[in-house]
Amino acid sequence: MTTPNQTRTPKTPALSLTGLCGGFDDPVQQSQQVFRRALTALSEPGTLQTLPAADAPTGIHPAAYQLCLALLDAETPLWIAPALKSEALVSALRFHCGCRIVDDPGRAEFALISPDIDGELTRFAQGSHEYPDRSTTLIVQVGSLEATADWTLSGPGIDGTRKVGITGLDPRWPGMLADNHRRFPCGVDILFTAGSVLMGLPRTTRVEI
C-alpha cells in the first residue's frame, strides 16, 4: 500500500504560454463538429471531410491539430513522429489537451505522423483478437487528398468501390495498408490529413491500385 505524505515524482517542466497556438474558441461545439467529420471519415472511408480553416502550430495541418484538440485528453497517450515533434506542438497539446506524449509508439492510443515513418505500421499498438479496439489511431499528414485518382477502395462504408488519390505517400504504403487490412480484426486505423481536409482509412478498407 502507498504511504501518506509520499512525494510525487517531479512534474514535467513548466509551460511557456508566450506564442502558444490557440485552441478551440467554443470547445463544446467545435469538438462535436470535428468528431462528427472524423466519424463520417472512418465510417465512409475515402470520402473527403473538410474542417474549418484554423491556425495550427508550424508544420501541423489544421485538420490534424483540430483532431487532436477534439479527441485527446489526459487519458490518451500520444506519440509524435520526431520530424513533427516541435516545441510549439508539444506545448500546445499539453496546454489544451493535457495529453501525455509517450516515447513508445506501441503504447500510444493516437499517433501523429508523416508518411516517411521508420519501419512498419506494426510499430504501433495493433490490439488483440480479444480487444481489437486497443490499437493506435494514426493521424497521417499527407501532401494532398483527392476524390478521384488511382486507388480503388472497397469494404464497409463504401457502396461498391470508391476512388481516391493521396499524394505524398512513399511506395511502401500500399503494401503496409494491405498488411494492415489482412490483420483484421487487429490493426491500426488511419485518418489522413491535408491542410483542412480529412480522409479516413480504417483497417476494414481494401486498397487496390
Binding site: V28, L39, L71, T76, F95, D189
Partner: protein
C-alpha cells in the same frame, strides 16, 4: 488564433440548466467518441466503454442516450422512437431530455431527422446517407444466453467460434420446425462478428444490410458500444435448408391499409376483437397524409 496568452480549452460551459450541452461532460464525450471511432473501424465488435450513470434508469435507454449525447450537435434534428412510435412515454421522455439539455430541434418525421434514437424498431421509411440511427441495447452480447460468462464469450468472438449459435438455432428447428427467435435475431456483420441487433423484430433485420445510414448501438448497463458503418454486409444467421425469413401478417393496417409494415395488434373490446395498426406511427401518418392529398386532388 495565435495569441500571446490564449485561453485554455476548458470543459466548463454550463448554461442555465447547470449541465453541459447534452448533459455529459466533455471528458466523457471524448471517451465515448474515441470508442465510437473504434466501433466503426471494427464493425460488429463490442467496444467496452466507461459508461456513466444517466439520470434515467439502466435498461431504459442509457446506452443509446450516451451515444446520442455524444454525437449530437446544435444543428442536428432528433427523432426518438420506442416500439416504432414517437409518442410512447419513454420516447417522449428521452426526446424531452435532449430538447432540454441540448436545445436541439426534434421531429417525428423520419426523413427530416439527422439522428434517430430507437428502441426495438427500425423505421419503415428507408434511411438515407448522412443519417445516424442510434439503438438502445439491453444485452449486447449475442452469445450471452448460451454462455453467461464474459471471459468465455470474449474468447468465442476472438476465435470466431460461433458454432454454438447455429446449434441453438438448429435445436429450434428440430423442436418447432422453425427458428423460434423472433426478435434480437443474431446477425453476422461484414462476414466476421456475430452481433446482437438489439431486440428489434427479425422483420427489421434486412433493413440493416447495406443501409446507407450509420448505425450505432449503445448498451449502458453492460457498457458496450458497437457500430455498423453504412453500406455494410449484414446477414441474419440461417441454414441452407431453413433460410432466414421475416414474419408477415394476413391483415393490413386499420388506419393506412399498409400490407408491408410491421403491425401491432390492438385488442379493442372484451370479446377478443382486435385490429392491426402500423407500429411505425410516422410511416402510418405519412401514408394517411399522402392519401388525403390524393383525395384533395
Amino acid at each position: 488564433m495565435t495569441t500571446a496568452f490564449p485561453d485554455q480549452t476548458t470543459d466548463t460551459p454550463a448554461d442555465a440548466t447547470g449541465y453541459n450541452f447534452a448533459y455529459l461532460d466533455e471528458q466523457t464525450k471524448r471517451m465515448i467518441r474515441r470508442c465510437l471511432l473504434k466501433a466503426v473501424a471494427v464493425p460488429g465488435y463490442q467496444v467496452p466503454f466507461g459508461g456513466r450513470e444517466m439520470p434515467l434508469p439502466y435498461g431504459w435507454g442509457t446506452g443509446g442516450m450516451q451515444v446520442t449525447a455524444t454525437v449530437i450537435g446544435s444543428d442536428d434534428v432528433l427523432k426518438v422512437i420506442d416500439q416504432g412510435a414517437d409518442d410512447t412515454t419513454n420516447a417522449v421522455s428521452i426526446r424531452r431530455f435532449f430538447a432540454r439539455t441540448a436545445g436541439v430541434a426534434t421531429t417525428e418525421s423520419t426523413p427530416q431527422a439527422s439522428v434517430i434514437q430507437t428502441r426495438h424498431r427500425i423505421p419503415e421509411t428507408p434511411l438515407s446517407r448522412g443519417q445516424i440511427l442510434v439503438y438502445q441495447v439491453p444485452i449486447p452480447e449475442p452469445l450471452r444466453f448460451i454462455e453467461p460468462r464474459e471471459t468465455e464469450t470474449r474468447k468465442m468472438h476472438a476465435l470466431q467460434e460461433y458454432g454454438v449459435m447455429h446449434v441453438k438455432l438448429y435445436e429450434d428447428i428440430a423442436r418447432f420446425g422453425h427458428i423460434a427467435t423472433t426478435y434480437a435475431y443474431p446477425v453476422k456483420v461484414n462476414g466476421h462478428y456475430v452481433m446482437d441487433p438489439s431486440p428489434i423484430p427479425k422483420f427489421d433485420n434486412p433493413k440493416m444490410h447495406g443501409c446507407p445510414a450509420l448505425q450505432l448501438f449503445g448498451a449502458g448497463r453492460e457498457k458496450r458500444i458497437y457500430a455498423i458503418p453504412p453500406f455494410t454486409r449484414v446477414e441474419s444467421l440461417d441454414f441452407e435448408d431453413h433460410p432466414f425469413e421475416v414474419q408477415g401478417w394476413d391483415q393490413t393496417c386499420e388506419f393506412c391499409g399498409s400490407d408491408h409494415s410491421f403491425l401491432d395488434e390492438v385488442v379493442i373490446d372484451d370479446y377478443g376483437g382486435r385490429i392491426f395498426i402500423c407500429s411505425d406511427t410516422d410511416y402510418c401518418n405519412q401514408r394517411l397524409d399522402a392519401d388525403a392529398r390524393k383525395e384533395a386532388v
